[in-house]
């Protein structure tokens, strides 16, 4: 291991500019002649627009344009798309209602886009928006998922008369029912996976610009995947062909999934730039972010687990209602289906699984991928079921899990996934040791003496990352391939630029990707630049989400580096007057085997460009190679998190006293960055479990639309984490990486709720387990105890 190579805890190169205020985010960019956009949004959850009069707004001094859905239609601008086709049980395709970027006759959630005002300043645009007269005829709002599909519910999209997007299933129903029929014990649970707002630190923003001389557009935007944005804006929405549209995603301050999607605002900004002939900028304020960023989670689930007389798992049955909001967002359809049900086997050998999922329209903001995307929801189902089952049959939850762990690999689950490698017992053993499981009884007694309730909860999670083998996801309905690309440019002086299709919005690519180059080429990370986020610079790419940048993005770079080294050997052979077969490359030097003749990487790079030692017939000059890497399988990070809580039954306040995380991420590039990812993920998972919840009232108003009502986790809500690892390298990619970006958010919620329910002695606690909810549950626990 070199001091900047794979495995080194190198400090993040990008942090200097971030912590000195020199980051360059979309809102920092000012274009000449720039105008400002303000979106008039619907205050109603469900209404038809009978009349929309923008004339007074348009006449306001300083206003350069007011555009509506009619203008979009006149220009033939297409609607926003959902890029993953899901088929219902009966084979029918999902019912995707039209999703215009500006409303065309109807609004479907509070925050839906009615019109855009473009003006010299944002203040003028806002004032002018007050002058737009909209005559709404309100319709009955559809908010509750159970009521949405019932008789008499208002219809949100005509294509889905029962408000069902799809009624999908996975697994073998017959085999599952048969296993349940012979079960000795069945555990049943009803679970709510609470709705979350993503809340990246930087809100979304966009600047659209049109160059009339070249008939070409540029869009600066907060995107996790600028090439996908360009593809969708070109091929589906029809703004401009790809060679006439440049998408730049500069520094981006967090995404958590919410910046994968192609939204109305950036679509309108780039289209409007040509309409008004000037650059158009929009930056979301925090309320707009609450209203219109795609939300996460929001499932209602009934789940059952069948056990034999020895406590071996026989089968699992799951029925989930997934709220998809008022429109299908870019990847929303796959989140509660193919990113959810295939993870229901968890770490366990379960012979039969059957899962049904109803995707449901409601008059709420669209719901799509949020850190973990489907896998936190699956893990919550599995780990709550498993914990409750162990308690019901009187087995130790750790021993019960160990007994049911998958031990032989590869393992084909009954729900698509073929797990390649893992050692679940190793993570569990280490976690038990680190949490001092043996001392739990003593700690519980100590807490009881203080009038407190102590509980411990496990979460043995698995996730499918490294998204994804293109042919496999294509067969499941994906509209795109999920490979990644890289280009490695060796410069004549021996420095290296890597152009990657991955995108960093906090992950630290500029450091970790440079560590791979440093490791392979034997040069310092200071001699490496990582270029990303600009479709005019980078060849193509699928972006960053699903913990894929290491496993897929870096594998592409590794492939390109192999090609650079192979080319370097050819150049070195000419330069050293040896045969190519005798050239070895090690520690940054090309040498002739068995001699002391060698050249450093930089010297070979120079030779490759000056091309004095070989002719053009023999070898092409230059040292630049590209690669596309398509994974052959998903990767399967796994681990065991253990949460220990102490509850004050008088106030309902839950204090997280201990947290142990033992993760198996395969090979780790930078342990410091990985630990940071784990910390952040746990914090987000604890946020879901204890604090966060997006709530629409019965009329469809979002009543948690600010930090007064939506509680984010803070440092003092969290303990000092004990983070450790076990390692089984991933066999399906050249680096052995599994991915780490989402693990904490996936593992944490069931660990917290299992700990709280252990402390209280009953299972009736829903997320977020706020002090009020826990206090009520503690009162119930006291009543139950009194009744015994």
């Amino acid at each position: 291991m070199s001091n900047t190579g794979i495995g080194a805890p190198v400090r993040r190169k990008e942090d200097f500019r971030f912590i000195t205020g020199q980051g360059r985010y979309t809102d920092d960019i000012e274009r000449p002649g720039q105008t400002h956009a303000y979106f008039l949004r619907s205050p109603h959850a469900h209404a038809t627009i009978k009349k929309l009069d923008v004339s007074a707004a348009l006449a306001t001094p300083g206003v350069v344009g007011v555009l509506t859905g009619d203008d979009l239609a006149k220009d033939g601008v297409g609607g926003l798309i959902c890029g993953w086709m899901i088929h219902s049980k009966d084979g029918s395709p999902m019912k995707a209602g039209a999703h215009p970027a500006l409303a065309q006759g109807k609004v479907r959630y509070v925050g839906d886009h009615v019109a855009v005002v473009i003006a010299e300043t944002l203040a003028i645009a806002k004032d002018a928006a007050e002058k737009i007269a909209v005559d709404y005829e309100t319709l009955a709002p559809v908010v509750d998922m159970n009521a949405a599909t019932g008789k008499g519910a208002a219809v949100i999209h005509d294509v889905a008369p029962d408000n069902r997007v799809y009624d999908w299933h996975l697994g073998d129903k017959t085999a599952t029912d048969a296993a349940f029929a012979k079960a000795k014990h069945v555990t049943k649970l009803d679970l709510v996976n609470n709705r979350l707002v993503p809340n990246p630190m930087e809100t979304r923003a966009a600047i659209g610009e049109y160059d009339a001389g070249n008939d070409a557009f540029t869009l600066y935007t907060t995107s996790q995947n600028p090439h996908v944005a360009r593809l969708v804006l070109s091929a589906f929405i029809g703004i401009a062909p790809e060679h006439k549209l440049r998408v730049i995603a500069p520094d981006v301050g967090g995404g958590f999934g919410s910046k994968i999607f192609i939204y109305a605002e950036e679509t309108v900004c780039v289209w409007a730039a040509k309409k008004v002939g000037r650059p158009v900028k929009w930056t979301s304020d925090r309320t707009e972010a609450f209203l219109s960023d795609a939300h996460g989670r929001d499932h209602l689930t009934h789940a059952e687990l069948a056990l034999d007389d020895k406590g071996k798992m026989l089968a699992m049955r799951v029925h989930t209602k997934a709220n998809l909001g008022a429109y299908l967002s870019t990847f929303s359809s796959c989140v509660p289906t193919y990113l959810y049900a295939p993870l229901l086997s968890g770490q366990y050998d379960i012979p039969a699984i059957y899962c049904e999922v109803e995707g449901i329209y409601t008059n709420t903001a669209p719901v799509d991928a949020y850190r973990g995307a489907g896998r936190p929801e699956a893990t919550f189902v599995v780990e709550r079921l498993v914990e409750v089952a162990a308690r019901e049959i009187g087995q130790d939850p750790a021993a019960f899990r160990r007994k049911n762990f998958i031990r032989k690999f590869p393992h084909q689950t009954p729900v698509i996934m073929a797990y390649d490698v893992g050692d679940y017992a190793a993570s569990l053993d280490k976690a038990l040791d680190l949490i001092d499981y043996k001392g739990l009884g003593r700690r519980k007694r100590d807490s009881a003496r203080k009038g407190k309730l102590r509980g411990l909860g496990f979460s043995a999670y698995i996730e499918a990352c490294g998204i994804a083998p293109s042919a496999a996801v294509g067969s499941l309905g994906a509209g795109v391939g999920l490979w990644e690309s890289a280009e490695v440019r060796g410069n004549p002086v021996g420095t290296v630029e890597v152009l990657t299709g991955s995108h960093s919005h906090g992950q630290g690519h500029e450091t970790t990707f440079a560590q791979l180059v440093s490791d392979r080429l034997g040069i310092s990370i200071d001699q490496v630049a990582i270029v990303h986020g600009d479709t005019d610079k980078v060849q193509f790419g699928m972006g960053t989400y699903g913990s894929r940048s290491g496993a897929v993005g870096m594998s592409a770079i590794a492939k390109a580096l192999d090609k650079v080294i192979a080319k370097g050997k050819k150049v070195a052979a000419y330069a050293l007057e040896a045969s190519e077969g005798d050239i070895e490359f090690k520690d940054g030097r090309f040498s002739v085997a068995g001699t002391d003749k060698s050249l450093a990487f930089g010297e070979v790079a120079l030779q490759a460009y000056i091309a004095h030692k070989f002719s053009g017939q023999e070898l092409e000059p230059g040292l630049k190679e590209g690669a596309f890497y398509d994974p052959t399988n998903f990767t399967f990070p796994s681990g065991v998190h253990v949460c220990e809580v102490e509850i004050d039954p008088e106030t309902g306040v839950t204090k997280i006293d201990r947290w142990v995380a033992v993760d198996d991420f395969g090979v780790v590039i930078n342990p410091m960055i990985v630990e940071g990812q784990v910390h952040g993920g746990i914090a987000q998972g604890v946020g879901q479990a204890l604090l966060e919840g997006a709530h629409y009232d019965a009329s469809g108003q979002l009543v948690t639309a600010s930090y007064m009502d939506y509680c984010m986790p803070r440092a003092d809500d969290l303990p000092s984490f004990r983070v450790d690892h076990t390692t089984t390298p991933c066999p399906s990619n050249p680096l052995g990486i599994k991915g780490c970006g989402e693990a904490g958010a996936i593992a944490a919620p069931p660990a917290v709720i299992n700990a709280i329910t252990d402390a209280l002695g009953h299972e009736d606690v829903a997320m977020p387990a706020t002090p009020q909810a826990v206090w009520r549950a503690a009162q119930k626990a006291a009543r139950l105890a009194a009744a015994e």
Binding site: E130, T287, S699
Partner: protein, 153 residues
Amino acid sequence: MAMTMNGEAVLPAPRETVWAKLNDPEVLKACIPGCQSLDMASPTEFAAVAKVKVGPVSATFKGRVQLLDLDPPNGYRIQGEGEGGVAGFAKGGAKVRLEDVPEGTKLVYDVEAQIGGKLAQLGGRLINGVAKKMADEFFGNFAKAVNPENAGV
């Protein structure tokens, strides 16, 4: 989101006077906090413009107000809806009942309203407090208006 409020006020005037003032747009205009105009479209229909501030949201509401279930001089139902532009909307009504009491007339009110948009998003926690304050202010003004000693109001 829904907002409910109820209460009562004792007014130093006979029921007939209170009833007459409750149907007088000039009196209502003077008493409603922030009311900029109240124009009669018919004896039971008004067009109103009022400026309201709820926490960080300040808006000018334009709306229609209707008087229903008129039962002189015992009470009526007042129903209306207003659009506050970017700030959102409010709609709803109040049942008003008048009773004779030794001090004059007791007015009992029962308000049910729906608010939406920015008012609900940012003002949700504040709306009940603001509504109560506005009601107190209204009845303070109205008590003065019905007091025969202030016949000029």
